[in-house]
């Protein structure tokens, strides 16, 4: 199928539910096509979960949702081996993570132990329980949401785990028109539940393969590396972008180029993605500017 048309249909489908957030929707799709995971960070009630669900429903694939709570156990996520008396053996009951798209709601409410169970699955794309390894389905994507504020019973996501997310976006409050639109829509019931899938899991996998093949010129690769190095050398940061971040940025840039119906990556793609790919991994020094500010400053400084 035609890549651009498919991408466009997904964007439109999700856009039917999430009003006025085209950029966030596009980023979500780009992350999906880059085989990455998406972190949506915002205040409660702006549509984080709705976006995750809409994206998941637009693709005809298995979707699981996990509501993270402090008492959630790692085995709830990964699955557990249960003794079957009839066979006198252990039988593996897959956890919530066994799905193409996993919506991890309020991920920072779970204990670090549970979080790391999910994060291992994200990186390895497999789950090991009792010495046995179970591969996760492909494509596999985690869309996690979290509240930015220090709320009761939350745990901050450690740096190493934040690094696993390709991008972090925030939705922000809708503008006046979008909110009015939303009020009318919601009157008729939850729009997300009315969404029909527009592509299948196989289509998504094909699209991922296609995006992988997008050309990246040497100068663009060098630009990406220079940006990553600039974060490591920045006097305002305690921790810069990892090589994993560099790789994910390139993958995301390829996907964005593909979504924009282009066979090659432009530095503009990189410039557009850096603010969502880099900041959540960086650790700023106390008293300095925020990571977003530092990244913006680096973009103003590093020549293309």
């Amino acid at each position: 199928m035609d890549f651009a048309a498919a991408a466009q249909s997904v964007l439109e489908n999700v856009g039917r539910v999430i009003d006025g957030k085209q950029a966030a929707i596009e980023t979500a799709l780009v992350v999906a096509l880059a085989e990455g995971h998406l972190l949506i960070e915002d205040v409660p009630g702006v549509g984080k979960t709705a976006l995750a669900r809409a994206l998941a429903r637009s693709v005809d694939c298995s979707v699981r949702r996990i509501q993270f709570t402090p008492d959630l156990l790692p085995s709830d996520v990964t699955g557990v081996s249960v003794f079957d008396q009839s066979t006198a053996g252990f039988e593996f009951k897959p956890g919530a993570v066994f799905a193409n798209i996993v919506v991890a709601d309020e991920i920072n409410r779970a204990s670090p132990k549970t979080q790391s169970a999910l994060l291992e699955a994200m990186e390895e794309r497999q789950v090991s329980v009792d010495g046995t390894t179970y591969p996760l389905p492909a494509p596999f994507m985690v869309v996690a949401t979290q509240n930015p504020f220090e709320m009761e019973g939350t745990y901050v996501l450690p740096e190493a785990q934040r690094d696993r997310f390709t991008a972090r976006i925030s939705l922000g409050y809708p503008d006046l028109a979008a909110e009015l639109e939303m009020v009318r829509d919601r009157d008729l019931g939850d729009p997300a539940s009315r969404l029909e899938p527009v592509i299948g899991a196989d289509d998504l996998q094909q699209m991922i393969e296609h995006a992988r093949g997008v050309h990246v010129a040497d100068s663009v690769e060098r630009y990406v590396v220079e940006l990553a190095r600039a974060t490591r050398e920045s006097p305002d940061l305690r921790l810069g972008a990892s090589p994993r971040a560099t790789l994910q940025l390139i993958r995301a840039a390829k996907s964005l180029a593909a979504v924009r119906d282009r066979e090659f990556v432009l530095p503009d793609d990189v410039v557009e993605l850096v603010p969502v790919v880099f900041p959540h991994r960086l650790v700023t020094l106390r008293g300095g500017g925020s990571a977003d500010e530092v990244v913006a400053e680096i973009l103003r400084r590093v020549p293309v």
Binding site: H215, A217, S219, V220, E263, F264, L266, D268, V271, V304
Partner: protein, 713 residues
Amino acid sequence: MTDLRSPAAARRDDLVDSCVVLVATIVLLGGFAGLFEGVRWALDVVSVLVPVTVVAAAVRLWSPTWATPFGALTAVLLVVWVFVPGTTVLGVPTRGSWRGLLELSEDARRVIVEEVAPITPPDSVVLVVTVAFVVVLVLADAVARQAWRVPLLGLLWATMLVVPSVIAMEIAPWWVFAGSAAAWLWLWWSDTRHVGVVPTGAAVLTAGGAVVAALALPLVGPEVRPTSSSLGVTETTVFGRGINPMIDLGRNLRRSDVRQVLTYTTESTEGVYLKAATLRQFTGRTWAPSPMLMSADSEGVEQVADDIEVETIRTTVRIDDLRSSYLPIPYPATRVEGLTGDWEWLIDGGTVRATGRTTTRDQDYVVQSLDRRPTAEQARRSRTSGRGLDAYRNLPASVPEVVVSTARRVTAGATTDYDRMLRLQDWLRSEFTYSVEAPVEGGYDGNGLDVMAEFLSERAGYCVHFASTLAVMGRVLDVPTRIAVGYAPGTRLRTSARDGSTFRVDSDDLHAWTEVHLQDIGWVPFDATPGIGTGTEFAEEERPDAPQDAESAAPAPDEPSEQSTLTPEDDAATTAQDAESSSTWRSVLPAVVLIGLLGAAPGGLRVLRRRRRWGSASSEAWWREVGDTARDLGIEPDPVETPRRFAARLVEHGADPAALDRLVLEVEHGRYARTAVVEPRVDEARRVVDTLSATAPRRVRWLARIMPRSLLP
């Protein structure tokens, strides 16, 4: 273009820049060496330039904003301290200081108008030169911190290079060109270094071309000749172009186009010498006027002893074609009537000079002068050692031995000053031949001491050589002498019983002769030039019926070349006018062309570069052209900008969006795609540049054309 230097490195570079500017300014000073004698003036100027640079550099370390004001303040104080030292109170300038400076500059203006380069500059002229160079230094020092410093300094320094050639008609020595060009290139190079950009091929080419041009210019520069006007001030009087008497004389005499300068009618039957200027000061290199007593009265005073026979002569002069600030009048004149404009009397020389913009052009006036007729006996009795005449006996120490010994040998046996001068005059008139060309061919043209020995052995020359040699020999013998410049009596046209004789004076009647001071008689002309006049000889007591003196000396019957008229009158007049305007052009043209070329060079380079890029088939070259055009128009590209973002900015500035999109697409394909599939279209690229230029304000557009910023790295 980002400055990547650390603050310390920037400070160090600032210091180096200051030094380079100082050195370049001092080198440019060398271009003026041809105008002035000696080196004292240069040391004076440098002694002001160096502290100004030091103060400005020191202040810059503390606050860049205040460097130029403090430098300028230092310059003002130093100028006051050096040139009007007595007028300050505890070093602070007072109103008297300004008055003193004004007086000095007024004096300088006079010297500049009247004197001929090279001169030994008086303080007043050194002041003017100092102020000019301090202004150039402070300006250059300030400009050297600006982004546009390379073209601005180039223009400033090129102007200073051209100034001496406009003034003295000589091109500055090659090392001045090379030195200032080197300083300029250094600044250019350091500009490229600061921003971490290697000079492009074009820059290297330009730089190399500039060096070659700088070195070649003095060699191929046209030999510039001063204007033709006989006693020539043109409307724009500048230094050394004033009366220019001694140097211009020979050139004017050698001119092929002769024109009628004036006609006069006189009661004297033999015609009169018309004196315009008096030269008293002999530097060894040339004769020059010196500051003289002035009077606004229209009457001169000449002391003549009572027992000497004197007759008053009335001469009516009509100027036909002469523009000069000096009025040709018979000597000694007692009264001048009928002049228009502002004139003043120079008492020492007995001459009349214009002030302000008045010139002799179209003047019509009547002069009363004295015809002194002493006897030879009275002349012999007259002592020459009067008071106040020491200035007329001054000689440089370097008088060649041959001049001294010849003077002594020729005058051996003569007992009075009158007889000595008579012998020298007659010896020169009889033993030497008149030739306008011989000195030029023999390489001893001029009136300095260095050529005098050559003249004495070649025994050929024209009025300048004879007058100068007689005057110097007179001074060797302790007789007060000076040089008069003016016109020989000319050609008689008619004689009427009622008005007297009418004479025509042509441009080649321009003449120089010697005046000798005899007490009781005054300044007596002695004309040592063979073939002109008959020389001075007062009547002996035995033959009182044949009095003859220089004022009434008749033109020689055998016509010397000086008085020959080669072309018909009216024809000569028109060609002379044409020649005058064309030769004025000839003298200014090289300077104008040089400034023009230097001014047009950046724009020309830019046009060439643009043409080359349009000619190439590469979108990348076109994109560079768009970037450079934007820079020229003040839209600075940012290295962190992607082509798209830069293009978006250009659209805001009026570039055609569709054409720009197309060009950006080509560029992006060329740079980032696996294979470029977009066909390059130069018309779209040109459209981008055209629309971008068209929407810029007119002033910006002109600046972009004349001083394209994109030539800077």
